[in-house]
Structures are given as structure tokens and as C-alpha cells.
Amino acid sequence: MKSSLLWLGIAIVVALLAVAAIAYGAVPLEARAVLDALSGRGDPVTVAIVRTLRLPRAALALLVGAGLGMAGAALQGALRNALAEPYLLGVSGGAAVGAVAAVAFGASGPFVLPLASFAGAALAIAVALGVARASGGRADPRVLLMAGVIVGAFANAAIMVLLANAPPNAVRNALWWMMGSVADAGWLTVGWLSIYVTLGGALLLWFARDIDVLALGEESAAALGVDADRSSRTIFLIAALLSAATVAAAGLVGFVGLVVPHLVRSFGVRRHRALIGGAALVGAGLVVAADLVARLARPPGELPLGAVTALVGVPFFLVQMRRLS
């Protein structure tokens, strides 16, 4: 009872944030006008702003946050690592390389782009885990993080190489995208991302109980009938798919996957089914809020979304890091 009230409250906050994201922007709109525009009535300019700019932008922010939140919750549990998240593990970086490579070779669209990202993300997580394991990093969560940061740095370099031969305009777009942005949201992107996020989220919820057991460690997982190697590989791949899809849609938005699961745990949620579900909701709210900040901080200009989430996430990371040692 208490927990359902809590979730209802959070859902309302997220909904209010989404409404605010539609109402506030370069042109402020009345709540009334927003509601009219949503149903297609009123001033045609307002209708156009709401329906083709702000609504898809808010929807994209919600989806990106949900995807990153769920991926972070799953990675933290399966890796038994309170610092794990797609961006810090280099998974997002790998996804970005995949996406930039696809674009550089002239490919794009709802299938090629996310799948190229996914290939990059899967490769990145395999390399990060392989490096961490080779250096005996199972015991210390920070070793995996170091491996992830190195993979991320390599990904950055790879992107720079790819961009070196691109036309200046493409470089500018790519840089903006690498800083994370939902500004260019369109319904097509929202459409395919919603499919990936729903699919990946459903798969993670299906495997949530295995994540509960994986979080106890390899030996205890084996004692409870879970093949830790196989099961965690599956979960890494799903988390990589989720992260890759968000990167393909909105670029590198860091730290959401780190902050969100900790927030949800602070509400007393422990089991991963509830944790992943809660992370979807809280993540959605967080990214919508971050995008609002990005738009309202310095109008009519905008801050990069990834910069806003990093400004929140880095201090948070440092606090978590301190707690570890």
C-alpha cells in the first residue's frame, strides 16, 4: 500500500515534468494552450510547436531516461558493482563509434543505426569485462570502471578519426550529438526507440529474478541454479542493446544509469523487478527534467543534455566512490 502510493506519487511527478517540458521552451505556452494544441485545437503555430517539436522531444527524453535507467539497474546488479552504468563502462562510447561509423559510411535509419550502435556497444562491454577479468578485477569494482573508462577513451579517439575526414557541418552535428541531445527529436526516432526500449525493458524484467541471484555472487548464483557466466552475458547484451538504442537516438547522455538505480534503492526497493521498473520511471523523469534545465538555463541558447546530466552525475559518482572505500 505504502509503496503503491510512492509509485503513484513518482508517476505524477514524471507526468508533471513531461507537461512542463511541453509548456516551457523558447516560446512559453499556457497550460491551457498546450492542452488545446495536444487535441489539435487553437492557434496553428502553437499546435505545430507542441506536436512536431515539444511533444516528440519530451517523448524522446522520457524514452532515453527509461532505457538508461533500466540498463544501469541491470548492470549494477549483474556486475555487483554500485558504480556500473553504460556511460562509465564505455558501452555508450562503443555504441557511439558504431553509430558514427554507420553514418560515415552513409547508412542510417531505424534499423541500421541502432544495430550498428549495438554492435559497437556489445564489443565495448566485452572488451571492458575481458580487460577487467584479465587483471583480476572481480574483487574490486573500481578495476572494471577503469577498464570501461579506457574503452570509452579509445571510442572517443576512434570517433575523432572517423570525423577527421567528414565535412565540417557533419562534424558540428556529430559533436553536438556526442554531448547528448534530444533537440532534434522527430516522431520517427521516437517510434523506433520506443520499440527498442519496450523490448529491452521487457527482457530485463523477465530476467530480473536472475539478476537478484547474480547480485549474490557467482558461487551463490550457482548454488541457486543460475549459470552466472551465461546469465550475466545475456543481461549485458540486453543492457548493451538498450544503451545502444538510446545513444543512436540521442547521443551520449552519461550518469543517468548510475544515479537512477541508487535513487530507486533509496526508496527501499531491493528486488530487481521493482528496481528496473522503478528505474524506468525515475530515469524518464530525470532526463526530462535535465532537458528542461538544458533549455531554460540560458535561453534562447541550449546547454548540451549530456553536460547537464554529467553536472549532476559526477558529484554523485564521487559520493558513491567514497562510500566504496
Binding site: G77, P141, L216, E219, S220, A222, L224, G225, V226, R270
Partner: protein, 268 residues
């Protein structure tokens, strides 16, 4: 009944065979203890039972079925293992933790909750920690945590319980309480396999002892048959004395001062 039949286990890149042709059985209704010096292969046997390390030869069977033929969940429904170490990165309430013992029975969307709740409650009671159900695993003493881990194993509901050094770090009262619990569970009909360093307690409580030495069985049988000066001095490479436990008459071991005559071989 768990049977190790000529089990051979080699770790990759290791010069020596960790476990070499080890055979013994763990019958129901009895407490079977595996003892031996550090590095004698005790925990390796447990890892093989959990299929974390492959068998290079021989077989392990559970009630006549080869381990390799059982799927992991079916194994976990029959045999519950409490591993040597377990530290939670994300603490859980004790009830939730013990509930994870039901994992091998759950379908992904949840089992019949009534039956599970009853099993969890019963497991907490049998382990004597009913009062801790709402506590967090990060707010437990070492002794409480070990009991909570045993409760999770009991919630698995199998007929066999395997414990790898469950009483290391426990004080006398908690250690005795654990041994009493294992002996009660065995005499209630479970097959209990206990890996321990505490020879004197094992000699008092176990029905059968299996003494491992460098991966081989050095002696096996009743405590009286295994707790012999010649055998134990050879295995532990230390002078000792076997006496009688004045309370129950079981054999008891006293290590003697070593007058510089011998020192244990380093663990490979």
C-alpha cells in the same frame, strides 16, 4: 544421497591435481564431514559440485543421477549449498534474502506465493532466526549472517545441505549452535555435508569423517577411525596428541608444541 565417485579435478595452469580419485558418499539422515589441511581440495570438491570447476575424471551423482545430467535448477531444488564466502554489495532485508532460496522453484513471474511464504517462514524458524526477518543483511553480526545463509539454503527445500566452513569467524556459542543445528537437520533426515577445520567439533557431531590430504582421501570412516595420531600427524605435519573428550567420550585432538622438528609443507 550425494556420491563422489573417483572424482578428479585439475585447475588449468596448475601443476598438481587438486582432487585425485576422491570417493565417498553423503547419505540421508547423517552428518558427513570433510576435513583436511588448507589446500587439500575441500573447497574444490564444493566448486565441482556447483559445476564451477569441471571434473577431469570420475563422477558426482545425486540420488543416482549424474550431476552432468541434472539441469542447474533441478540440482538446486535437491541440494542446497552454503558457500564459504558471500558478501552482498546491495544489502537486502533478511526475509527477501531468504526468499531467494525459492529461486530454483520460481517461474520467472513468480511461484505460488502461499507455498513459498510458508517455506521461507519455516526456514527462518528452523535456523532459529525468525526474529531477524525484517532486519537488513548489513545489520547482522557474523553469527547471524551465517544463520541467515543457512536459512536461505533451507528455503530451497531440498534433501541435501552442503556447507563450506560455515563456522569460521564464529565464537564458541554460535559455533556450537550451528553444529547443533546441522546435527538436528541430519537426524531429521537430511543428507548434510560439512566442510570444516574444527576437527574436535566434527569428531563430536559427525557420523562419518573424510580426511583429505593433497587431493586424496587419507582416511575415512567413523571419527574414531579417522582421529588417530599416526594418520593426523602425517596429514597435518604437526605433532599432536589424541585424547578423549571428557564430556561425550569422542576422540579429541590436542596439537603439541613443535620443538623445531618439522614445519608444514607450503601449500602448492
Amino acid at each position: 544421497m550425494i556420491i563422489f565417485e573417483g572424482a578428479v579435478i585439475r585447475y588449468p595452469r596448475a601443476a598438481v591435481t587438486a582432487v585425485d580419485s576422491v570417493s565417498f558418499g553423503v547419505p540421508r539422515g547423517a552428518l558427513t564431514a570433510v576435513v583436511g589441511p588448507n589446500g587439500s581440495g575441500k573447497s574444490t570438491l564444493i566448486r565441482a559440485l556447483l559445476r564451477l570447476t569441471p571434473l577431469a575424471g570420475g563422477a558426482i551423482t545425486i540420488d543416482g543421477t549424474a550431476l552432468a545430467q541434472l539441469d542447474r535448477r533441478a540440482f538446486a531444488r535437491r541440494v542446497a549449498v552454503v558457500t564459504q564466502r558471500e558478501a552482498l554489495v546491495f544489502p537486502l532485508p533478511v526475509w527477501e534474502y531468504v526468499a531467494l532460496g525459492r529461486h530454483p522453484h520460481d517461474n520467472p513471474w513468480g511461484a505460488a506465493p502461499m507455498r513459498s511464504d510458508a517455506s521461507i517462514g519455516a526456514a527462518l524458524d528452523r535456523a532459529g532466526i525468525g526474529a531477524l526477518a525484517d532486519r537488513g543483511t548489513d545489520a547482522l553480526s557474523g553469527g547471524e549472517w551465517q544463520r541467515v545463509r543457512v536459512a536461505r539454503a533451507l528455503a530451497q527445500g531440498g534433501e541435501a545441505l552442503v556447507l563450506d566452513e560455515p563456522t569460521t569467524f564464529l565464537d564458541i556459542a554460535h559455533e556450537m549452535a550451528m553444529f547443533e543445528l546441522f546435527s538436528r537437520l541430519a537426524h531429521d533426515g537430511m543428507a548434510v555435508l560439512l566442510v570444516s577445520h574444527h576437527l574436535n567439533l566434527v569428531a563430536r557431531f559427525a557420523d562419518t569423517m573424510v580426511l583429505l590430504h593433497r587431493g586424496r582421501v587419507a582416511a575415512a570412516g567413523t571419527p574414531a577411525a579417522v582421529m588417530r595420531v599416526d594418520i593426523l600427524e602425517e596429514v597435518y605435519e604437526w605433532p599432536l596428541l589424541i585424547t578423549r573428550d571428557p564430556a561425550v567420550g569422542a576422540p579429541a585432538l590436542l596439537p603439541l608444541r613443535n620443538r623445531g622438528l618439522r614445519s608444514p609443507t607450503p601449500i602448492p
